[in-house]
Amino acid sequence: MSRKAADTLVRWAVALVATCAGACFSPSIAQELTIGTRSEMTLDPHHFWSTPNRAYNVQLYGTLVRLDERLQAQPMLAESWKLVDDTTWEFKIDAHARFHNSQPVTADDVVASFERARDLPNAAASYRGAIDGIKELGAVNPQTVRFLTKRPDPALLHQVAQVAIIPREIARTALQSDFISGKAAIGAGPYKFVEFQAGNRLVLTRNEDFAGEKGRWARVTFRTITDDAARVAALIGGDVDLIDLVPPSFIARLKSEQRTVVHMGTSDRTMYLIPDVGRDQSPFIRDVGGQPLSKNPLKDLRVRRAISLAIDRETLVQKVMEGAGQPANQTVAPGVLGYAEALPALRLDLAEAKRLLAEAGYPEGFQLTIHCTNDRYINDSRICQSIGQMLSRLGIKMDVQALPRAVLFPRITNHEGERISLALLAFGSGTTGDAGGILNNTIHTWDRQRGFGAWNVGHYSNPELDAAIESAAATLDASERGKRQAKAVAVAMEDLAVIPLFHSNVVVTSKKGLHYRIYADESTIADAATMP
């Protein structure tokens, strides 16, 4: 629907609100929480790997290890773990852990669950991608599971955190329909399955026998409301207590609304521009006359610096993202292990940018096409258009191409193909809990054999940096790894392998009277909502 109609909706709603009474979160119904979410749960926990599903899985099924708000590993069904050697990990299962059918959680159940996650046929977003670092696993005794990794892998905990644990009989024999009917929706999490109406709602109830910290709410209902304005209307109308993934355009209104409270926090995701620096001739760059250029301007660090200096990150955050963001000087989010503290802020300096561009040999500028998605990140095509305008001020004739991700992503990730000259992308640190995911996937040279650089679509290649990244990736000690990653990040940013824009925010809104702890990977967790 049009943005204007949606704005009008909220404007009218604001105008009609008088007090909080009646629509506030009241203690009389304190035990029940209704959440309006954008994504529905896939009840089969090993079929579709995505962040929303992981959030649902950890609440209903439980995992050996769970990720907290800062995406650090915490014990859940496993009470402890240790490194036997560089590539062998042992997890000790909590002796009190029980499934919802009172069966104890044993190592066999864990092994069966992981094997199912790895081998489930016809899974389009297979969990095999989530646990790729695991070579094999086995039960040492009923309480202990051993994991062997392909190489020393500090991110094993994050991989283990992706897989839901279900009873072994269900793992071996259940059909999809069993999960949807709820018959097989048995896990060991803090909440139990009650009811699922496809496309409408998922109802969970507190698991009183949960071994760890019990769930805060007696009953949680997840209502699926995919339309953003409808979700906001549901909150204002009092039909739900909390909504996630609030688009920035609603923030100002929701803040001024008496009945609601906006909760914001930094996410682990950073938006950035990726330039083609690998080729001598780039397909989407021409000179001012429209003729192909003899050499690729983006290979010159001065041109990349000029582009970075021409971008007004403050305006991007304040006007395009309506304040839901933070200007970035690197693609790792602050607070994440491997964040390079000493890097200076990236400022706006159009005069200096023009000077650099002229010095590099392009006083007249050139023609450049920027590619981005229009349906993947919040405001992605608007950000792209703003970047286009900002770079036009620099003297570069910009062409903005906003495409659906189903069309753009296969094109750019085909490393043998045309790819792009300049593109807008985002990446997060959620899968490793540190800068490793970003370094391995977006900065390291593309290496199909060894699985590096899948998203390094600009083909930036710095062999010394590659060695540093690989050494960091194999460092099991956290603080040493953080230091090495921070050094690598600093080198990559100084070389402008990618041009950072801003860190996104997670925006959640609730009724007045509720407090919500933001999770950096945008997980919607019922227990993160509390009454102060």
Binding site: W12, L16, W49, G129
Partner: protein, 323 residues
């Protein structure tokens, strides 16, 4: 009659084959769905393996042949997102959409018919002119705007009706329906009102036009001359003639509403087929898109057949091709 039905069956098969081909080509052109579904951190070799497993790397004609072979066995593919056979998924959501459309059409008929009769019988009155104007508005105004205004008015301002979702259901003849519970009715009222505006306006205009047209005909004048009361003429003699074009239109409108209640379902988060197809298109869930289009085409073919049979029953002058 037998020949007629056989011919229709043959035409149906041809139509479905052509449509399936068109849809396949169209869906192929949107792009590779894997990159929409797969988490960006998935290693490339896993992505490639998944592409192979799902047969997405095969050329178009091979994918199409595979699809046809499976379809002839009743297998229309498994949804990438929901892990269910796509036809079963759609059939599972169909009752909710049907419920909504039936409620909407019932409302449209209950309100539109009487209004249309009034407007047709007393065309010069101010009330009738008002009805005509409203019917024009009803046809022109976009659904989503009506939906939003209703939400603002009834849910946010008056707070008497919920903003969306489907209410509690009760089983009736083996099917779960929310029309039999108070909570269900509260939830279905606003979406049904939204859906009903367009057909209501159509019915008003058609009824009014029908009365105006038939009112001038000889049989009506003759009945007048014989001294029959206007009400009796209207209800006993004119109604049946007026109904024929309305029945035809309503059949098509019914099909359109079922297929395209998309906007209403999205805004009200009504868990029906329309919302399913929109969500599936957004994530490129190809099997569901293809199965949905074929389902809808089949539905239209059946509706057209029923409408033709009904028209023949109502109007003895109509002969079905093949009689």
């Amino acid at each position: 009659m037998g020949v007629f039905l056989l011919r229709r069956l043959f035409q149906a098969v041809v139509t479905l084959t052509i449509v399936s081909l068109l849809v396949f080509i169209g869906v192929f052109a949107i792009g590779n769905p894997i990159y929409v579904l797969v988490d960006p951190s998935a290693p490339p070799h896993v992505v490639e393996q998944t592409v192979k497993n799902l047969g997405l790397d095969l050329p178009l004609y091979q994918q199409y042949t595979r699809f046809i072979q499976a379809a002839l066995h009743g297998d229309f593919g498994t949804s990438y997102v929901h892990a269910q056979p796509s036809l079963r998924l759609i059939a599972g959501r169909f009752p909710a959409t049907l419920e909504l459309v039936v409620a909407g059409l019932a409302l449209a008929m209950a309100v539109g018919f009487p209004l249309g009769l009034i407007a047709g019988h007393w065309p010069k009155r101010r009330f009738s002119r008002a009805i005509s104007t409203i019917s024009i508005i009803g046809i022109s105004v976009p659904t989503f705007w009506i939906a939003l205004m209703l939400i603002i008015g009834f849910s946010l301002e008056l707070g008497v009706l919920p903003t969306g979702g489907r209410g509690a259901t009760r089983s009736f003849l083996g099917v779960e329906t929310s029309l039999l519970t108070l909570d269900g009715l509260a939830h279905v009222l606003l979406p049904a009102m939204t859906l009903s505006f367009f057909p209501m306006s159509l019915i008003i205009r058609l009824t009014r036009a029908g009365i105006r047209e038939h009112g001038k005909m000889d049989y009506v004048r003759f009945a007048h001359a014989m001294g029959l009361s206007p009400m009796r003429i209207l209800l006993q003699y004119m109604l049946r003639n007026i109904l024929i074009p309305i029945v035809t239109i309503l059949g098509i409108v019914f099909g359109t509403l079922v297929a395209f209640a998309v906007v209403t379902e999205s805004i009200f988060s009504w868990p029906g087929m329309g919302k399913l197809i929109i969500d599936s298109i957004k994530v490129s869930d190809r099997p569901v898109i293809v199965a949905y289009i074929l389902f809808v085409v089949t539905m239209f073919l059946v509706i057209n057949l029923v409408v033709d049979l009904l028209s023949a029953a109502l109007d003895p002058r109509i002969r079905l091709a093949g009689d």
